[in-house]
Symmetry: C2
Subunit: 347 residues, 2 copies
């Protein structure tokens, strides 16, 4: 990569935004100019990038002028308002919100799984939901060898999934409980410290919450097949950062756990964590801050002749959000796809 | 119940032991005499029962003389040492350990599911594992209407499952983390505060831990069928008390979620907690201290034509242990089964 790019981060002050900034620096993404955009109330603050204090600007039409790449992580409504503006001004938008993920004209990309989908972008590329990304990275290498028929997923999602304020709230609640006071829930609907509850995203008519339907629909789109049947139970747990998932897989034919282990031990983005002797498997505290999805406890499912069980943990803010977005940006740069769209998407 | 009974609690100072004491009082079990037995280091302490301070004695052969009922909750090795002695002295033992659960001559009883199994006891009745009890109470009423073929369970198990010391350790760890210090793990193998990990019980050759195999084997025994195929992923989470479980059920034929809801709304030991409008379902903090297993989020499984998803929380120390044991004692008293065994079991 010899070219360098004018980059804007939309939502620079959030949990994912600050991680985007850190990753652009750490991974040495070729940045020639960097704009930090956030809401009005953050204007005046600065954030560090490569030793320099950069000012935070508010979002406006003009902010997207002379920008090649927008990394957006400011929520669905902000993306819906500004993505088209940025594209019109000639930028490519990698969007971390759910606004465009299921739009058939917009690629939904996990670089380890479907990098080819990015090639046909029309200015916007969607970054999948965090739980979906983590599951996709772990399941795809197996699915390539023998097709997965059905997935039963149960998640253990950290407070980071609800943002920096939720992470702070869990700590405040824990302090209160330890001091004998009642915990106060303002960001999340119920106290999460020393408690847990089904994911509080809106429920559909079938009783599935949005988070669960993201795992179903986005996985099918990323894998490029409607044939995989998926069900999920998404649960918020009092962990600060890094999500965990118990994944039950049914294949079309038998799949030995030994073979799965060999495959996953060399799969991109996966780190096998399995010490059977000391009962040591992936844990959120060990996944925090790491790039890889930690996968382990690969077991033959004793309840199904073609079944496998596996357990994973991944940093929700990193591979579950910011890292995947930066990897998409790297992929675009690598394939010379960071150029103004010539055909526009209908959003 | 007009008769009253001479009762001994073995392991009276533990998390389950103190709950047994409380439940005998609360439920007004007909106690004529109560002995509190614990390890040597607790001798000299007292515990309250109906306003009276009762001394704690150490365990010995003589301690089981003139006792009708032993409620044992002092771990497998203690039960293996003392249950036969108690039975020989004429007591009936309701044992909360895993020592005798899979012995084919010993009934394994959840009173809402298989009370009839208690009738043929030979001096010892086993109380099932906590996660198993909670699942059995919720699944049995459905299984009665249409047989369950397969269960995929994922658990969210609180610190109470590892005893009072683990509960205290999680609090100490949380304090340390909130103050910026490193958490220390002594009772459990890894820090549990703001973290989670697969259940640390010993693993078998298939990679299933003991806790998971209890859910498999004990459920089959309690339900009286080997035909139900079960797989489980058991996980410890930083909740103080009350376990949660995500349960995926496959039936022989379609089972509507509406019908399941009607059935569970009037099933013994079950409390339906489902407010779809406010996204309110069972939570550990609401299950804590309650007798019922809270069940909700009953959904048609979109990945399987005969599938149902459900979510439950139950107090691990109460219905998951002490309450179930006291209910067995009540059942025995009610059926006039609290009498010296005439045939002995081989243990």
């Amino acid at each position: 990569m010899t070219k360098s790019y004018r980059v804007a981060i939309l939502g620079a002050t959030g949990a994912v935004g600050t991680e985007l900034l850190e990753l652009l620096e750490q991974r040495n993404f070729p940045v020639s100019d960097l704009k930090l955009l956030a809401s009005e109330r953050s204007v005046g603050r600065t954030l560090q990038f490569k030793g320099e204090n950069l000012p935070i600007d508010s979002v406006s039409d003009r902010a997207f002028e002379n920008v090649d790449l927008v990394l957006a992580s400011a929520g669905s409504s902000t993306s819906k308002t500004w993505a088209a503006v940025a594209v019109e001004k000639g930028a490519v938008v990698v969007d971390n919100s759910s606004a465009f993920r299921m739009n058939p004209e917009i690629p939904l990309v996990v670089p380890e799984v479907n990098p080819q989908a990015a090639a046909n972008h029309k200015g916007i590329i969607a970054n999948p939901n965090c739980t979906t990304i983590l599951m996709a990275v772990a399941v795809w290498p197996l699915h390539q060898v023998r097709p997965v028929q059905r997935i039963v997923a149960s998640t253990y999602q950290s407070a980071s999934g609800a943002g920096a304020k939720a992470m702070a709230e869990v700590k405040t609640q824990a302090s209160a409980i330890l001091e004998g006071r009642s915990p106060v829930a303002e960001v999340l609907p119920y106290p999460l410290a020393f408690n847990l509850f089904p994911h509080n995203s809106p429920l559909n008519d079938l009783g599935y919450c949005e988070e669960e339907m993201k795992m179903v629909n986005e996985t099918q789109k990323i894998f490029g097949t409607q044939k995989i049947r998926i069900t999920a139970t998404c649960v918020r747990v009092p962990v600060l950062r890094a999500h965990s998932e118990a994944i039950n897989l049914e294949f079309e034919e038998p799949f030995s756990s030994d073979e799965a282990r060999v495959i996953l031990s060399s799969s991109p983005g996966v780190k096998l964590v399995e010490d059977w002797g000391s009962n040591h498997f992936p844990m959120p505290i060990e996944a925090t801050g790491r790039d890889e999805v930690l996968v382990g406890r690969i077991r033959q499912d004793i309840s199904h002749p073609h079944g496998l069980e596996l357990w994973l943990c991944g940093d929700q803010i990193r591979k579950g959000a910011a890292l995947n977005a930066v990897q998409i940006a790297e992929l675009l740069a690598d394939k010379n796809l960071l150029r103004p769209a010539t055909t526009y998407v209908s959003i």
